[in-house]
């Protein structure tokens, strides 16, 4: 089901991928989480600036599952309810590292550009 051959989809990965990236990061940092926990954590960290429809987290999770960057397992929640827990895989960690590197590179370039403008 991968759509890598479609360039349009590739472009959109950059946009959608931001959310995916955040999900991977949360799972990497906090370990296995269920969807609700991930959504809450993202909101917390972004200090309420990022108001997303929480449902979109689940589409992100589906996508990541298809790419095999995360894996899922049914378990019991804190209050003993049935919930699906996600954890990052080895290839997921590799993807996370790659994307973090990309982001930092872009941020650096933009930073330099801005400083450049300031001087002139």
């Amino acid at each position: 089901m991968s759509k890598e051959k479609n360039t349009d989809a590739q472009k959109s990965e950059v946009l959608q991928g931001t959310l995916d990236l955040m999900v991977l990061k949360v799972l990497d940092a906090l370990g296995p989480q269920h969807g609700y926990g991930i959504a809450r954590r993202i909101e917390q960290v972004s200090e309420q600036v990022l108001q997303l429809n929480e449902g979109t987290v689940y589409t992100s999770l589906l996508r990541l599952q298809q790419r095999k960057w995360i894996s899922a397992e049914w378990g019991a929640s804190e209050n003993n309810r049935k919930a699906k827990y996600y954890s990052i895989t080895k290839s997921g960690r590799k993807q996370l590292a790659r994307e973090t590197e990309d982001w930092e590179r872009i941020a650096g370039v933009i930073g330099r550009l801005l400083k450049l403008e300031g001087r002139g």
Binding site: M1, A9, K11, Y36, N53, G55, Y58, Q66, W74, K82
Partner: protein, 883 residues
């Protein structure tokens, strides 16, 4: 084995997916639960907590759809499961949109389905005889004398029957107008005298009893009759012991030997609604007369003969007879035509036009809905873009959109089918000349018609769904995912499609309207035409003296003489008279004539309408007497007498001098030249739309025809005199059947039934088209404006003039309209050429018609846009922005 396994895995896949769906459901439920609890802990009330949790989550159904998009699925699964689910969600959340589409579609589908039901029954279904496609009529024809499709003289028929090889059998039939007495009021009926072979030819066995045999085709044995189902039910109460009972027809006693089944009609043309069939007996005088062309000949093709082979065969036979009897049959050949081409010949073109019109309406409805879908497509682009990004293939998106369209059109077809079933009866009722052939209770919404409406729905669904689906799935993601997608390339393309649709719809409306305007104008001219005589306050009574009592001319003469003097002295009768053929009644009689002393010249035949009248005819009918005098009671010589002619004849023969005193020879009495004693104004008694022909009037005593119509002028409502008239007639002869005691105005009204029908139909179609067009413009503009509310609110708040906004939004719609007006005008000018025969005194390029139509279309476009725009203009900018 392979197929089994495939089916198994597919099914398993379906089931498995259901499990996955179940898991998704569980997950989401868990999420909502957690959020709700947290909200409650933060102090919200439970119902508030849950609502807030849901709001934060977003549209659950949508998320699940996205999930399914990612997972993908087989084509069928897409259509059935996902498509259905989404489409139903669409109907729930966008009720107005769905309703608008369904209304438009149901109108179009209703019109076309109703017409299809009628067309199917009349044109496509076979006639109620065995293997009806192999039945033919064989005519005599004489091309040189311009005589096509003539009936056949008995001796010729008998020769044909003996010598031909192309038909299994031939049978002749003669019309039989008969008066039934001793069963309530005397009444006239149509019947057919036919050979016994006729029934075996048709292959339809009687319901009760038997049909006659050839041994009964002999004078003395021929007083047996087979009756029709309708007659049996209506006059004899459907009693089963009817065989062997008797009827008094034309004063003679006939034994009923059989009853034909329901829905059996013969012939299906020529003489319709026959109630009786009796054996045909050729009188001795007729058996050797090869010019007595009264019987019509029916035959059945042998299995291995085609129509053209049969024609060649009959050509040979006819030539044979020509050679043996050159005096009577020189130039006379045979012509073979099939039943099916003759049946419904009169209104087949009408039906075709009607069907074409209804398809036009359906196309208009499709254009409406496509327009709506495209307008909506622009708004949906964001959603579609997201799905495409999530991995939904273009095919899948097209499939989803198509499913929506199909559901809409199916819903439209259901409503349309219901509407159609109500439309069928009224439509058949008003088709003139259709009723004798097809009873209105025989046409109904059959399964076939229902299938048609569903098929129409599916096809139209594909048509109007395809364009938006394809347009919608070609997505430029970068542009679209910006907030307002109106600057995107796909949005611009959609706009172009929509303009095209508006143009197409306008074209159709314009064409329909201008054709309607032409026909309306034509009908209007028709009913305004002066027929040359008075039609108000005149009572007409058709008299038939065709029983044996009136076989002799003198008996008929005395009857008329007595009756006319009685009627003329009735109180309330201002003036009374009689004429052989009822004006505008559909019958007429003409004959050739020549000047006295002229030799008959077959190349240059003079033909005039012949009318036998009572002397007061011109006075009663207010026909002006230009020269000379009217007939007096002294003009009562049998087979002799003066004549009166009309201006047309006088002008034609004696343009520079008076016609009075000149003498003519009328072919009915070739040895008696007659003198012209009067000239009267021209009248249009054959039909208001037909120009007057030369006419010769003769006083009734010269032959006392067996049929005449009384014309009685009254002061007030003519029908008030009906009873008195009937009494007077019955005082003279109680056994006379009196058909049609109707005012002349009613006769005139019926005579323009065909043009009036076209007028009514076109007005209705035009009305529906206008309704569809209005609805279309209104819905689309409303939709577009609603989508743009936010933008407009911002603009108004920023100080933009409301007029500017109007202009921008509506401009594209109007370009489409103007385009459509031009194309529509061109189209209807072309179509007008085909209509030339139907138009009376109106050119196909009649300017008022087109101008009016164009004005109407423009008004529709303006009004349709006006209301939504005005509503939006009243919107408070702040609330629009916040929405």
């Amino acid at each position: 084995m392979f197929w089994l396994r495939l089916i198994y895995t597919r099914l398993y896949g379906l089931l498995r997916k259901n499990r996955i769906e179940q898991e998704m459901d569980d997950e989401m439920r868990f999420h909502l639960l957690m959020r709700t609890r947290e909200n409650i802990e933060r102090g919200m009330r439970p119902d508030e907590a849950e609502r807030e949790a849901r709001r934060r989550f977003g549209n659950v159904g949508y998320i699940k759809d996205l999930g399914r998009d990612i997972k993908g699925g087989g084509f069928i699964e897409i259509l059935l499961r996902d498509g259905l689910r989404q489409s139903l969600r669409l109907f729930k959340h966008e009720k107005q949109f769905a309703a608008a589409c369904i209304v438009a579609l149901s109108l179009g589908i209703a019109a076309s389905t109703a017409l299809f039901a009628i067309v199917y029954k009349v044109l496509i279904l076979p006639l109620p005889y065995k293997d009806a496609e192999r039945l033919v009529v064989v005519w005599e024809k004489n091309i040189k004398e311009g005589q096509n499709r003539q009936n056949v003289a008995p001796p010729t028929f008998l020769d044909w029957r003996a010598q031909q090889r192309a038909f299994t059998d031939m049978a002749a039939g003669e019309p039989w107008m008969t008066t039934l007495t001793e069963l309530g009021e005397p009444q006239e009926y149509w019947g057919l005298s036919g050979n016994a072979a006729l029934f075996s030819l048709l292959g339809v066995p009687p319901l009760l009893g038997r049909t006659f045999t050839s041994s009964e085709e002999v004078s003395g044995k021929d007083q047996v009759v087979v009756i029709s189902y309708d007659f049996w039910q209506s006059r004899l109460g459907g009693k089963s012991e009817v065989i062997g009972t008797h009827l008094k027809l034309d004063g003679a006693t006939y034994e009923i030997i059989g009853v034909m089944p329901r829905n059996f009609q013969f012939p299906p043309f020529w003489i319709t609604r026959t109630a009786f069939w009796r054996p045909l007996v050729f009188k001795p005088g007729v058996l050797s007369n090869r010019t007595y062309r009264r019987p019509r000949v029916f035959a059945r093709l042998k299995p291995d003969y085609t129509l053209s082979q049969a024609q060649s065969e009959m050509d040979v036979v006819a030539r044979n007879i020509e050679q043996r009897f050159p005096d009577s049959n020189s130039g006379w050949g045979a012509e073979v035509t099939s039943f099916s081409s003759l049946y419904a010949e009169e209104f087949r073109p009408t039906l075709k036009i009607l069907f074409a019109l209804s398809v036009c309406l359906l196309l208009m409805a499709c254009a409406n809905v496509a327009n709506l879908l495209l307008a909506r497509g622009t708004a949906r682009q964001k959603e579609l873009a997201v799905r495409a990004a999530l991995g939904a293939s273009r095919g899948r998106l097209i499939g989803l959109l198509l499913t929506e369209s199909l559901l809409l059109s199916l819903a439209g077809s259901i409503v349309g089918a219901v509407l159609a079933s109500w439309l069928v009866k009224p439509i058949v009722y008003i088709i003139p000349k259709a009723n004798p052939i097809v009873g209105s209770d025989e046409i109904w919404m059959s399964m076939t018609a229902l299938m048609f409406s569903i098929a129409a729905a599916v096809i139209t669904g594909m048509i109007f769904g395809m364009a938006p689906a394809i347009a919608g799935s070609k997505l430029n993601l970068q542009g679209i995912l910006q907030e307002n997608g109106r600057s995107s390339a796909a949005g611009a393309r959609m706009k172009k499609y929509r303009m095209g649709l508006v143009a197409a719809e306008t074209t159709l409306v314009m064409t329909l309207l201008s054709i309607s305007a032409l026909v309306i104008h034509s009908y209007w001219s028709l009913i305004k035409t002066d027929p040359g005589f008075q039609t108000r306050n005149i009572l007409t009574v058709r008299l038939s003296l065709n029983t044996m009592d009136y076989a002799q001319p003198y008996k008929r003469y005395t009857f008329y003489r007595d009756l006319f003097s009685r009627i003329k002295s009735l109180p309330g009768a201002v003036s009374a008279s009689a004429v052989s053929d009822l004006p505008l009644g559909g019958d007429w009689f003409d004959m050739s004539f020549r000047l006295e002393g002229e030799l008959p010249d077959p190349a240059r035949k003079r033909i005039a309408d012949i009318r036998i009248i009572d002397g007061d005819y011109f006075k009663t009918m207010s026909i002006p007497l230009r020269e000379g005098r009217a007939f007096t009671p002294q003009d009562n010589n049998y087979m002799r007498g003066p004549i009166i002619v009309n201006e047309a004849l006088a002008q034609q023969l004696w343009p520079k001098e008076s016609a009075l005193g000149k003498r003519l020879v009328v072919e009915t009495f070739p040895n008696y030249p007659v003198e012209i004693v009067g000239v009267v104004g021209n009248i249009r008694d054959r039909g208001v739309q037909l120009p007057p022909r030369p006419a010769i009037y003769q006083p009734y005593p010269i032959i006392s025809p067996s049929q005449m119509s009384l014309m009685i002028r009254t002061e007030q409502n003519p029908l008030l005199l009906a009873r008195a008239v009937r009494e007077q007639i019955w005082k003279i002869d109680r056994n006379l059947a009196l058909q049609d005691i109707v005012p002349l105005e009613t006769v005139a009204w019926k005579s323009v039934a065909q043009p009036r029908f076209m007028f009514l139909v076109l007005v209705s179609f035009a009305g529906v088209a206008v309704a569809i067009a209005c609805h279309g413009v209104y819905s689309v503009v409303t939709y577009v404006l609603t989508e743009r509310r936010q933008e407009m609110g911002i603009r108004v708040a920023l100080g933009a003039q409301r007029n500017d906004i109007l202009r921008t939004v509506v401009k594209s719609e109007f370009i489409g309209v103007i385009l459509g007006l031009f194309i529509g005008t061109a189209g209807s000018l072309a179509a007008g050429n085909f209509l030339k025969n139907m138009l009376y005194q109106v050119e196909p390029t009649d300017p008022p018609a087109f101008v009016m139509s164009a004005l109407l279309v423009s008004t529709i476009a303006i009004l349709g846009a006006y209301f939504p725009v005005r509503r939006v203009m009243k919107v408070d900018p702040l609330s629009a922005i916040h929405n």
